[in-house]
């Protein structure tokens, strides 16, 4: 299988037959793009869950405080 590789050395592989800039910049662009579109949604999800947790926590606190207030008013 290794003999089927079209390059005989690492230097030749990096050089891409003289088109190193074109070939490698496209693959780097792809890598960056791939990373962005997987990583950012995951990061965003974490953020959403964190915000939601806080919101629910305060809602609960608020509900408890509200109940305390209303009972306070009644008495």
């Amino acid at each position: 299988m290794l003999e089927a590789i079209k390059f005989s050395s690492l230097g030749e592989f990096l050089n891409m037959g003289g088109y190193a800039f074109n070939v490698w910049s496209v693959y780097v662009l792809f890598a960056v793009f791939f990373f962005i579109n997987i990583y950012f949604p995951l990061l965003r999800k974490k953020q959403i869950l964190k915000e939601q947790k806080r919101r629910q926590y305060f809602q609960q606190e608020g509900a408890v405080a509200g109940m305390a207030d209303s009972t306070g008013e009644e008495s």
Partner: protein, 247 residues
């Protein structure tokens, strides 16, 4: 059938199902991507005219072909939004627009870098390139339209209509290489028939890359759609329960 349809439209159902599918999709995507990229970079023979720039094709062609799927996808989602007011459809349409802009941009950029040496120019106002650039601007237009309208229901409707109209451009992109024969080459048939000018050593890795990038498209669309579901359904009991469980 109708029960299935209304179930499909439920964000909760989609969230749970996609959660089960995601690991498999990611696994299949990773394997195909690894095989495809190694094959494209190391084992594909250099083209007799283009030399090693042929390796750019394995990124450019999958991205360009999937870019064409966005408007039909958004149009179908938009139609469902307009006719059945299914919440999930609009969430998919909303997340598809920026992703489509990214895909289109990468298809344009990789093509431009490829052309800079092979055509001797970064850009030319050829039918294919121009219609593809138009698609990019249409997607930017849809994204800004949605963020400009405060009423989210009105925004959903406006974007749905624009997506349906924008499908015309997909037809123009598809046939542009046949209508205006300038620089961009027409697509070559892939397959075992005698018409195919390229051997399997060229198109098998291309098919693998197309499958891999399709899976990547599915994975990233699902990831962002799930985020959108969490945001819009945050008052729903099931989201609140899930957040509590994860806390």
């Amino acid at each position: 059938m109708w029960l299935w349809f209304s179930k499909l439209g439920s964000p909760k159902w989609f969230y749970e199902l996609s959660g089960k599918w995601l690991p498999w999709l990611v696994a299949a995507m990773s394997i195909l991507l690894l095989v495809g990229i190694v094959w494209a970079l190391l084992f594909v023979p250099p083209d007799y005219q283009q030399g090693d720039t042929i390796r750019i094709m394995y990124i450019h062609v999958p991205f360009a072909s999937i870019s064409l799927a966005f408007f039909p996808l958004m149009a179908v989602a938009g139609t469902i939004t307009l006719v059945w007011r299914m919440k999930l459809a609009d969430m998919v349409a909303k997340t598809a627009a920026p992703l489509g802009a990214w895909f289109t941009a990468l298809a344009l950029a990789s093509g431009s870098i490829w052309g800079s040496d092979i055509w001797g120019t970064w850009w030319i106002w050829d039918g294919r390139l121009t219609s593809m650039l138009l698609q990019f601007f249409l997607l930017i237009g849809i994204i800004s339209l949605r963020s400009a309208l405060e009423d989210s229901e009105a925004a959903a409707k406006a974007c749905a209509v624009l997506s349906i109209v924008g499908c015309i451009n997909v037809v123009v992109i598809k046939y542009s290489v046949d209508w205006w024969n300038t620089l961009h080459q027409p697509s070559s048939p892939i397959g075992l028939s005698d018409e195919s000018p390229n051997g399997p050593e060229i198109w098998v890795p291309l098919l693998i890359m197309i499958a891999a990038i399709y899976l990547f498209f599915a994975v990233s669309l699902i990831l962002s759609t799930r985020n959108e579901i969490l945001i819009r359904e945050r008052r729903a009991q099931w989201v609140q329960d899930m957040v509590k469980r994860e806390a």
